[in-house]
Symmetry: C2
Subunit: 141 residues, 2 copies
């Protein structure tokens, strides 16, 4: 199968598939005209990658997960560890976003959004941090 068909079947853009070959995640054969030729196993691998990426695993996680997948002597603990750590990352990110969301939603709510210049949002952004200020949470970035 050529890259176009594999892209259709795997749901990944051809560009991405070439990139994955570049970084050694997949190794299609080449036909005499230089075209990449994908086997069923390549399709399977790409689908695996697509699914793992859609769950937010990094490329390096994906690489490791693929190795574990191909290692019939793996310990499921190794897989679980990667997934658990990823879960922690996700939770941290969610917390961070919700903290932003909270402040932002409050500010948006306060702002009249009319044609006058007065704006609580800009007031907040330009507020100098005051020592001992009440309700001043540390922003984590």
């Amino acid at each position: 199968m050529n890259i176009g068909e594999i892209a259709r079947l795997s749901g990944l853009p051809a560009k991405t598939i070439r990139y994955y070959e570049d970084i050694g995640l997949v190794a299609p054969l080449r036909s005499t005209n230089g075209y990449r030729t994908f086997r069923q196993s390549d399709l399977h691998k790409l689908a695996f990658l697509g699914r793992a990426r859609s769950l937010g695993f990094t490329i390096e996680d994906c690489r490791t997960l693929l190795e574990l997948y191909n290692d019939s002597a793996r310990a499921s603990a190794d897989v679980k560890k990667i997934a658990s750590e990823h879960l922690v990352r996700i939770d941290a990110k969610v917390e961070e976003l919700l903290a932003m969301r909270k402040t932002l939603a409050h500010l948006v709510h306060e702002c009249a959004g009319d044609n006058r210049p007065n704006c609580p949002i800009l007031d907040d952004l330009s507020a100098k941090p005051v020592a001992g200020q009440i309700g001043c949470e540390k922003t984590s970035r």
Copy 2:
């Protein structure tokens, strides 16, 4: 004030401040020895940027927000629009992460995490999508 002091006062790394000058967000003066010299207004601007970035605004949003801040004839609606759109982006991101979280938490829970190879996480990742499958949500990436 030199960059080191401004970094301390604004809470931004010196590297970041130089970068902000590079992309035209701040324009400190230069003293004869080539050192950047920051005014109080530069500090104020950098604090504004730090706060806006900590709320997740993009650099381009920050640029626009700064312009609006300096425009006494602004309409608060313009500010509110930027913030509201950002809020929508945040909500979308949170939704995406929560969807990942849900699947992932389920899989992690299912996995024994011992030294045996059997692993529901890998099973899920390698499952071929089946047409007509029940409970098969589209993953948005």
